[in-house]
Amino acid sequence: MQPSKQFYTSIKIIDADEVPQLKKRTDIATFVIIFFIVVILTRLWFLQIHNGNNYREKADNNRVRMLDVIAPRGNILDSKGRTILTNRPSFNIVWVKEDSPDPDEIIKKLSIILDEEIAELLKRVREAADNPRHIPILLKEDIDWKTLVYIENNHYDLPGIRIEVLPIREYLYGDFGSHMIGYLGEINQEELVGRKGENYQGGDQIGKNGFEKIYEEELRGEKGISYMEVDARGFEQRQLKGREPLPGNDLQLTVDLDLQLEAEKAMEGMAGAVIAMDVNSGRILAFVSSPPVHLEDFVGGISTKKWQELLNNMKRPLVPKTIQGQYPPGSTYKIVTALAGLAKKVITPNTIFYCSGSMVYGNRRYGCWKQGGHGAVSLHRALAESCDVYFYQVGLKVGVDGLAEYAKSLGLGTRTGIELEYEKSGLIPTAAWKKQAKGVPWQEGETLSIAIGQGFNLVTPLQICQMTSALANGGMLYKPFLVEKIIDPEGQVIKEFEPTVTLELLGMDNYLELIRDGLIDAVNDRHGTGTAARLKDITVAGKTGTAQVVTMETFKAVDEEDVAYQHRDHAWFTSFAPAEKPEIAVTVMVEHGGHGGSAAAPVAKKILERYFAVKSDVNSAKSVEKQASLR
């Protein structure tokens, strides 16, 4: 098919006069080409050099997904460093909707695997509807091992379903100190606004109560960030270097695990409070409000049903009775009356009053708890046997304002200043107070009630314990405290709390000793009211109290067992030991428990027993150690 030579010769050659024209046109073409080269290069320069960093950033934003990594919260330890509260991994089911080709099918399958209603799962999905599509939706928290293994094994049948591991609170000792430890909850709008700039996000857990709330800043740690490289469809490609979360600081409490558990056990089934305090520092060794709150119920949000149950419970588990329960102090207040009488010099240790079982004042008869009467009583016997008539007499002589003066000097009627929130101050009435609050002047007859701790008087168990400590240590009113130190994750102590003295009673040593003597016999004399707290080797001193809830006249004829629960008396017992050289004060308050001597004193005994048993264990262990090292 080669064309002939003729064909080629017939090809027109460009005329000479056309050459410059052609040249001109190719020049134009060259110019056009160069023009576009310049345009392209300019554009390239603009994109890559001038705006390059901007685009680099966009490229990174495209591919890098930033996710917060929740930091494990700090632990809570007892006074000896034993862990009470820590974290454990919780396996949550999350769903990245955009990774699932058939969302309905997934929900159906999950409903069977997780044993949850489809409607319940869909509700969760709807709640997260506003989130970006790549943010995982939480479908179920804290699944069990069996479910976890099943889902892991059937991973390919469940596209988009993932397991997320989050640290959650683990309560190693059940409801240990539930009221002081408190619980976590999802951060609410108000908290989010209030804590702006502190790296909180919706859905985060935050302390709602107790230490979890008060020490939120210490416990929360610092969130980490994980950078995940994703492709255009949002599939995660690989983990980039991020920032590890920083665990929170630990709280070491002053509370002793053994004592606390003993106290909680002793209060089982009863409503009330138990406080054990180191009398020489204000360190609280046990801090129980009964019944406890089941903290586990709050993990992942408490159900409405359970919350209602808590609210309606007659024993008021939600109220921390140690600091918010306000009760008439009953006969424990006789410590105040005795001190006031001695200090005001209206009585001496030898002053004798006659108790016939009752006393008439004005046109009313004021009874002693012992209907037969105590006969002639001195201060010592009056305290030991808790003679009401004796203290009526002292009260009358001191007057309401004199009583209030010494009640306040022993810390009653004011908040102790413990680190917990919402502490109540109680109430110590004065004549002026009544005039102002009730609009009527003080009746002298009311002073009689006040003198034995009834009437308007209201105290918290913590105040009574603080007062008892002051009595035991010779007049130092220490501020009670629960947190010993804050320890960072490396074990370095970053903050240590020192005992602080709120108030010091001066020149009262003799009077306090007289009262202490009385309290020793209250426990150790066979006529004493608090004999139920007696220990074999250790001298315990204590004062019982029975606080009337309603005037017992109504129920005088009724057998105690038949009185409705909420009308029964509150039982008090406050004590310290060893009496010769006090170390520990224990205050027990049993709501509607009846008599202090029978309901509260045995509880105190158990705690004291435990305290000294542990102490001697430690001592003997120490001496064994010493012997071992000597050898």
């Binding site: 005329d15 190719t26 073409a29 554009r43 890559q48 495209n62 492709d231």
Partner: protein
Amino acid sequence: MLAAVLLIAAMGLINLYSATYAGGDASTTAFFRQLYFFVAGFSFIVIIHLFDYRILLTWNYPLYIITVCVLLGALLFGGSIAGTQRWINLGFFRLQPSEPAKLMLVISLASYYYRKDTGRGFTIKDLGVPILLTGVLFVLILKQPDLGTALMFAGIFISMTLFVKLKWSTVWIIFGACSAAIPMGWKFFLKPYQKQRILTFLNPESDPNNSGYHIMQSKIAVGSGLKFGKGYLKGTQGHLHFLPERHTDFAFSVWAEEWGFAGALVFLAVYFFMILWGLNVCMASRDKFGVLLAFGIVSLIFWQAVINLLMVMGFLPVVGIPLPLFSYGGSSLMTTLIGIGLLMNIRMRRYQVRKA
């Protein structure tokens, strides 16, 4: 010259490897296919050298008719991809007939203008046949539908027509007709998605998830390359699938992302050297057919390159024009290599006329 082509081809292959790289053992299918096409294409260049390019003067109409038939065939029986019928399955390879059709148009127009050239300039009447030649192909491609390629045909026609001598009156008539036709075309010919593409071009950020997405991602890819790029195989935009069509239309984005401004400069230098060399062939040719053919081939490669580059840099809407020699695609590669073979042929035989 051949060195420049080989260099571009090599860069294209290297880039293709990266663009289709998926970590670990890459899916190298595309890479090897492209390599085969290069080898085949170069053998075509050799074969083309055996013939005198002027043989095309006798073959141009039969070739043109074959092209039209193939395009019709593609429309009627072609495999449909994403609603467009651009392919004819030849078993070992799917031919995209619009690619060789571009070259056919160049050959046909060059032949026609050569024959009709009187040296006095063309009148509007003389342009009837070229308009018809272009129009048939234009409509066939538009029906596929492939607006970008169809517009390429118009571009080739305009370039070549402007290159031959026109009477000034003719220029004005064409200009007037075009300005009338553009609004008409907008109203009647363009499909909504094509209108959308053009609107997006005017304001790409308005719709970053759909139409503007490609342009945005491409700009991000190019821009994030900075001076020296992210490094070979380390481009994130490409490998994480943010870039669409990263081995075909947006191949240059991958290149610019991984090699940066420096790499892009090297590439453009070589590329435009090749184009200017083509223009040089055009000037060196001593016969009118050679001049016209060379110019047509150069404008074919040049316009595709310019449109593609401006597109990936966000200056033009996404129209689906590949970067010749660089983008993945057998049909385009073969067509371009044949075109380059013709250019070399013209250069080789530039003195033969005188000898004969």
